[in-house]
Symmetry: C2
Subunit: 152 residues, 2 copies
Amino acid sequence: MSFEEGPEMATLLGYQMQMAILALGDSARIALAPFGITPARLAALLLVRDNPGCDQTTLGRALSVNRSSAMKIVNLLADQGLVERRPGRDLRSHALHLTEHGTARVRAMVDTLRARDRRIAAALDPGEFDTLLALLAKLRRGAPRWLEEAAE
Amino acid sequence: MSFEEGPEMATLLGYQMQMAILALGDSARIALAPFGITPARLAALLLVRDNPGCDQTTLGRALSVNRSSAMKIVNLLADQGLVERRPGRDLRSHALHLTEHGTARVRAMVDTLRARDRRIAAALDPGEFDTLLALLAKLRRGAPRWLEEAAE
DNA sequence: TATTGTTATACTCTATAACTATA
DNA sequence: TATAGTTATAGAGTATAACAATA
């Protein structure tokens, strides 16, 4: 069976984003599989790397998951020896850090994704890749506003 | 705790897409909640509407899920009276169609999302919204290639 | 009282594998 | 043999609710 998308879907932003990320997400998943890591977990690793000493709850907020889910993610990354829990700012909280091994692995993961990004950029016209990144960032900055409006 | 993203993440396409769709997806979820529908299920409804008489397996492929998952989605939409299974091109397959009720509801859902898209477009400069849509579409067209490369 | 981490439990979405009825 | 639908089962990923330790 052949399949059409229909003109309406082509102009619905959420739908286009969803389908694009689906394709993109699959390729990132494949690229990161040799590291035993998913795109979501790499996001956690990058956030820990760029915010050394952060606690689990804060990490969870940045990933849009709750404390309980954040803990599972940290558990997995700790089991893989990529992240470690050090004593935190008080006796309740942990300070998250990449291990030495984690730092090296993250560097390799990012290199892999950058190589993929270069291939994707090659499929676009010069400058379009940067334009896309800029528009996505702009979109994100506006996001909190729509969420409030949607909740009204 | 405050949190930083780090310059590396800002330029990783997949990460930016993921975070943008996270914000966007939440607002779509909130907007569609009164209809008892998720963004993913609306995608299924739109595909059925634009491809009346399609079968479940083909719908599943378009949504990137397998037969089994496609069936669950169709079951849910059928239970809600939005989609119906009619006799298909042979005795094995069903022909999927929106019900009359489904057609009206989908129209209302799309109107709701269009209103939200207009608010989002207002947060961008004139033309940027269309540019974003065009770049996402271009990205999707290139996607099959990266998937092959990633699998190599 | 509020917060951090933790645990137990449940729900959603998806996949795999096996079965059936057609083709 | 292959295909469409179906079913049972299992695995992620996430959420809620409750608890302990600490603030």
